[in-house]
């Protein structure tokens, strides 16, 4: 069998289909589990949009970062650098 045939015969996940055929902005509001032919299981939570899946999820990541501990750490370090507290402790 050619590569083409073997890929062509594979089941395609519903999420792939939705990502391609749905217009942007169509929302899936309920919690759901998608299962096609028992192969692909995709869990989507309340906040996920299909077709704008990517943009919404990315937007969330953007928000996450604004309040993440990584950011706080960074800010704290900047403050420490600025106030020169390091040198006090070291010597």
């Amino acid at each position: 069998m050619s590569l083409r045939e073997s890929i062509e015969n594979k089941d395609v996940a519903l999420i792939d289909i939705l990502d391609v055929i749905l217009d942007k902005g169509v929302a899936i509001k309920a919690d759901l589990v998608i299962s096609i032919a028992g192969v692909d299981l995709v869990y989507l939570d309340l906040r996920v949009l299909i077709a704008s899946v990517e943009s919404l999820v990315q937007a969330q990541h953007g928000n996450d970062q604004a309040v993440s501990s990584v950011n706080f750490d960074q800010q704290r370090e900047e403050l420490l650098d600025a106030t020169g507290q390091f040198s006090k402790w070291e010597n």
Partner: protein, 268 residues
Amino acid sequence: MGDLIYLYGLIPTNEATNQSLPTFKGFDGSGGIYTIPIEKSTAIVCKLDSEKYSEERIKDKVSNDMEWLQEKAFHHHETVKKLARKFTIIPLKFCTLYKNQDSLRKAVHAKEPKIESAFSLLAGNEEWNVKMYCDDHVVKEQIKKNNPAIEAKRAEISQLPKGRQFFEKKKLDKLIESELEEEINRISENVHLHLKEFVIQGNVKRNWSKNVTGKKENMTWNGVYLISETAVESFLEQVQQYEIQMQEMGWKFEVSGPWPAYHFSSYS
């Protein structure tokens, strides 16, 4: 009032007259699918009851009735896919509806030049999707081992007083993270640029996050490619080679297709 027209896709009229349309059930499962020739393009459509399928009802169903969405999305996909095997087709998005034949005719007529150029781009070509995934931990270990800048920094840190080591190690971790991101992007992009040599057009879509893919690896690349039918096999062989070569370094590939050319035929 009356029937709406559900548009699955547009095919060149000369192809429609040469071959008969396979028999398909319509969107509501009862009526059939038929063609409406509009100059050089032929619309493939079915009728839908306008009361049952008002815009609000469809929006409500899409948002709240997963079973319905699943069934209908598959119907749309399967229908367009089967048509794509026989005809050059401009696939339409899910639930593209017109009030009546007249409004469809007007819309198609207004886009005639765009439609024609889409037909000539799509004829004899297929759309394929390649997703790349990467196990961050494996790549991170490689970076830690092989990156001289990181090695040098690590040696520098070990010479520092204990209290300071803690903060410097944190900075180093941050450096590794950014190196990791760069490395992953660089590798993914190189693969994409190489794959583009086999194709007519290649576009990049956004990556999905883990809660969408359900995988432990991160999606690092989501590319769609329009490929000449004759070049598909060598394209796929190339992907397979990458898959074999890069497997041990934590990389995975997922290929799907052929898709109706949704990403290369903007009709709307």
